[in-house]
Each structure stands twice: as C-alpha cells, then as structure tokens.
C-alpha cells in the first residue's frame, strides 16, 4: 500500500496566520485565551477568538468578501497551500468541522447553515473538480479527517488530498457548553488538580497530503478510530475506545510502545476527559512518554483542534522541541501522565496524536519523521 505524507500546512488562529507564527507563539508561551465579550445573555467568557481587525489588515480582499466569517478563515487557511501545490483533476478536498456556518441559524438561514453549502463555496473558489468530502464527527473530526485521507489514498482513490478543519466561536456552541456546565471561568488547566472545564476557541487549519516523502514530509503511518460504546456525552470510565484506538494504531505501525517520543493529547481540562486519558495511557503503557495538551494556548477549537494540534505536533517533530502544557501546574488525574512542563529540546522520531469527542468517538494517529 502507498505511503502517506503530510507536507505544507497552515493555521489561522488568534495566535497567528501561518504555521510558523503559531509555532513561534506557542514556543514563546503565549495564549490566545482571554476574556471575550459575547452577545447577551452569555456575557464575558474566557475564550480564544480571532480578532477581525487583525485578520482584515492581513487579508483585506478576503476580509471584504460578503461571505460568512468562518469561510474567510477557511479560504485563508487553504490559499497558500493551493498556491504552492496547485489543483489537479484528482485533487480531493476533505473538510472537517463540527458546526461549520451554524451561526446562519441566528437569521433562520437554514440553507446557509448546511455544511454542503460551505463546501460548495470552497470547492468553487479554488476550482476543485470533485465535490469535497465532509466529515462531521464531533471533536475528533480533525484527526479522523487525516485517517480518512490516508485510507482513501491507500485504496487508490486519490493521490493528493487537501484537508481543511475549522470551527467558529459562536453563541450556538457557547450556550450549549454552558448548559453542560463544562466551561471554566479562568484559563483552562489540562490534567491539573484544579481543572474546571474547557475554554472554547476557533480557527482553521489546513494540510496538503500526498504519497511522496519529498524533502520534509512527515509520514502518517497508522490510524484508528474506535468508539467507546458507553455514553453519548461522557467518556468511557475505562478509556476503552481511546485505549483501543491507540493500541490498534501502534499495532498497525508495527513499532514498539517504547519508540514513541511524544504524545499530543486531547486534554480539554474537563474532569472526565482528562481522567479518562490518564487511564487509557496507563493501559497502553504510555504513562511515561512526554505528553501535552495544546488547549491552554487556543482553547478547544472543536472541529479544527485535531488538525491544528497535529500541525503543531509536526512542527515539534521538525524542530525536535517539546512544548509545555499551558495552564498545568499539579497533576490531578488518578494515573500518571508525563505532562511536559518546560520548553525543551528532544529528538522526536515518532509522535502519537489522539482526540476524543462526544458520541463516544476517539481517534489516534501515528506520525513518523
């Protein structure tokens, strides 16, 4: 079966409008999370929000297009990749999002709120011949999209794939998380004893994938997406689905657990998610591997998170750097996790990226340099 390589990437987020800018910001210990005022009655929440004025300065033309806000970020994410790689008849676009342009419902625009509407706009803007493939699978969407891309390439359905993942910080989503009492009223603290819940965020991330290593391609060597089959909104108490996803990916990669140098975890900073991850990691004998969550830098960017964080993982691999978990101070989960607390140099040859989401979903991918 063909090998699969990740090449150019891009991140549009409150921490910058390129992968380089985002990686620099994260290495410098900057967080996007701050008090953000949302329409009443939501009020002020701690969240990561892209500042329109800053985006407009960087992308004046795109900013002035009369399209939904989220679509501007999608275009900005994809544009440099398309400019570098071009689009052929065979180029497939895979879209990952939880809610897409859901804010259109505020104005009863049901057609506009359909993910297909956004997908068609993006397809036409760039001139993709094929209809995009849309994945909407809760917060694992970003990682799952990479898994699907790999599998389609290996089944010879495509030889080059663009993946774009995105979600927007909007009242629809905030109100829901508030009703679930899942949000923290300060900057989130993944794996910490004082963690109180998530911060929400937004962003768009994109990657170009093909079957050639070229100079700096990071290989996507294994993947698995296993459901907990336990509860629709709470994770399995035994971390079943995540454990199975991780172990199946490791089996497919045909490597030993000891070869994994770094794990980019989901780490949303809820009591249950972080606890579940500690259990899954111990069961998979990965409790001593340097691990972090990026949620303290961006908040939970939902459908974007899996890809955004994978891109940062790729940068860590290319630069042999381990990034600390912003917000973490004292371990507060039952089983050990080797949470990274200092910025450090470390050769990274194999990295594991995991994600978990509502509906009992879990995804795990293994990357190789």
């Amino acid at each position: 079966m063909k090998k699969v390589f990740l090449h150019q990437t891009n991140i549009i987020s409150p921490l910058g409008f390129s992968t380089e800018e985002n990686f620099r910001a994260v290495c410098a210990g900057n967080t996007a999370i701050q008090p953000v005022t949302i329409a009443e009655p939501i009020g002020t929440i701690y969240a990561g929000k892209i500042k329109e004025e800053v985006f407009a300065k960087m992308y004046p033309k795109m900013s002035s297009l009369e399209i939904p806000r989220i679509e501007k970020y999608i275009l900005a994410a994809l544009e440099p990749l398309v400019a570098q790689r071009g689009i052929s008849e065979d180029s497939l676009l895979i879209i990952s999002t939880t809610k897409g342009n859901i804010s259109a419902l505020e104005k009863h625009q049901i057609e506009a709120a359909h993910l297909g509407t956004t997908a068609t706009y993006i397809q036409n803007y760039f001139g993709f011949a094929q209809k995009p493939l849309i994945i909407s699978n809760a917060c694992v969407s970003g990682v799952m999209a990479l898994s699907v891309a790999k599998r389609l390439i290996q089944m010879e359905q495509a030889s080059e794939i663009y993946v774009v993942a995105f979600d927007e910080l909007v009242p629809f989503i905030i109100s829901g998380f508030q009703s679930l009492q899942a949000m923290s009223d300060t900057i989130c603290k993944p794996y910490d004893i004082d963690r109180k819940g998530v911060n929400l965020g937004e962003g768009a991330a994109a990657v170009f994938i093909n079957t050639e290593k070229e100079e700096k391609g990071i290989e996507l060597i294994a993947d698995a997406n296993i459901n907990d089959a336990n509860h629709i909104s709470g994770p399995s108490r035994t971390g079943e689905g995540l454990y199975l996803s991780i172990t199946q990916a490791i089996k497919e990669a045909n490597i030993d657990v000891s070869q994994i140098d770094y794990i980019s975890l989901h780490g949303t900073a809820t009591i249950y998610n972080d606890e579940m991850e500690s259990i899954a990691l111990s069961r998979a004998a990965l409790d001593h591997v340097p691990a972090n969550s990026f949620k303290g830098y961006y908040g939970h960017t939902l459908g974007a998170s899996g890809l955004l964080e994978t891109i940062l993982t790729m940068e860590c691999m290319k630069n042999n750097k381990l990034i600390p978990t912003y917000g973490f101070e004292t371990l507060g989960v039952s089983l050990p996790i080797a949470v990274i607390t200092q910025l450090q140099e470390q050769p990274i040859h194999y990295a594991l990226k995991t994600a978990s989401g509502f509906g009992g979903s879990n995804s795990a991918i293994l990357l190789k340099k």
Binding site: E40, P41, T98, K99, G100, I102, L105, E106, I110, A113, H114, L115, G116, A119, K131, L133, I134, I135, S136, N137, A138, M144, V148, R151, L152, Q154, M155, E156, Q157, P171, F172, S175, G176, Q178, S179, L180, A224, N225, I226, N227, D228, A229, N230, H231, I232, S233, E240, G241, L244, Q248, G357, F358, G359, G360, S361
Partner: protein, 196 residues
C-alpha cells in the same frame, strides 16, 4: 469483492427489508411513527425516548438491520445531507430570545450528527470504527473504498453503511450491511439501484 447481505429502507411510514415490506405504520407524525415501530418490534430500551429524531431513525433502522447479528466487529459509516440541523434548529430556538433563554443540555448533546453513531454503538456494544460523512446524496463513491479498506485490513468483520436523513417533515433511511458473503455485489450501480 464484498457483498451486501441485508438492506433496510424506511420511507413514508413503511419499513422494507431486503426489498420486501416488513412493517408499516399509519402514524404520520414522526415521533409517533418511530414510537409505533419501537413498540411493534417490542424493544425494551428506555433511552430511546431521550433520543432526537435523527437518532431514533438510525436506531430503529439499525435495530432491524442488526437483529440477528452476533458479530461485535461491525463498523458504522453514517451519512446525510443536513448533519444534525433538525436538532440544531431546536437548540437555536431555545437561545434565540434573550428573554426566554433556556439552552437545554438534553437537546444540545444531540447537535452533532455522529451522536446517531454513538447511540447505535451503545445499543449494540460496538467498539468499532465509525465515521459520519455529510453529503448531498448517498456517498457510495467514498463508502465503497472505505468499506473495502476496513474489511481488507481487518478493521471490521462487517460494515453498516447508513443514510439517515431527517429535517423537518422529511425523513428517509437506507441502511445496508456489507460483508464477505451475500446476495448482492457491493458496487455503486447495485447500491444506487436498491435505493431508488
């Protein structure tokens, strides 16, 4: 080559199994219709009543499709054109008016289309691969190679491909089971024929 061993269609108050009429209901209101099928099949699963319409449709369809299945290695590939918009609209209604702002957690948890996969996974205890695609129509072009990948690489013994659509008064479901043996070859033409 893999085969379709079983297929279900739910449309206009009728349920079809492998092309033959299996059950029908005179109820026209969707909730009543689903409840009628639930009772007809003598299902005992109180969680059913908490599900949103999309999940109820997926649940009822899967209940029949997986009725005599012993395998636990069944992957679930679901799809529709509207994701969870049917329930999204309800959530939006609960927050639209500042003076009557009561977002409901029980509604919000269903504002993701893959929850339908979750409900079926839980019901049948399927700790397996799954994915939710949003597409204009049955995404057979992607489902077939993806299903082949899962079966060839032993990621699943069987695969359920389910088109589950519910938006306002419109609903339809088409589910089929793919495995090593069966009557119908898994081809785009065959699948589109079954779901006309």
């Amino acid at each position: 080559m893999y085969y379709i061993s079983k297929y279900i269609c739910i449309q206009q108050g009728k349920m079809w199994l492998n092309g033959s009429l299996y059950a029908e209901s005179h109820y026209t209101e969707f909730g009543d219709l689903m409840k009628d099928f639930y009772k007809k099949f003598q299902i005992n699963y109180p969680k059913f009543y908490k599900m949103d319409d999309l999940c109820k449709l997926a649940f009822i369809g899967s209940e029949l499709l997986l009725k005599d299945e012993n395998s636990k290695q069944i992957a679930l590939l679901f799809s529709n054109s509207e994701a969870s918009l049917d329930t999204d609209i309800k959530h939006q209604q609960s927050i639209q008016n500042v003076d009557a702002y009561y977002p409901s957690p029980a509604i919000f948890v269903y504002t993701l289309p893959n929850i339908a996969i979750g409900e079926v996974s839980i019901r049948h205890q399927l700790q397996t691969e799954s994915c939710f695609f949003v597409a204009d129509k049955l995404p057979v072009t992607h489902w077939i190679p993806y299903t082949n990948y899962l079966l060839q690489n032993h990621k699943a013994e069987k695969v359920v491909c389910a088109w589950v659509h519910k938006l306002g008064n419109n609903y339809e479901a088409f589910l089929y089971l793919v495995e090593k043996k069966g009557e119908i070859e898994q081809t785009e033409q065959n699948i589109n024929e079954l779901f006309k």
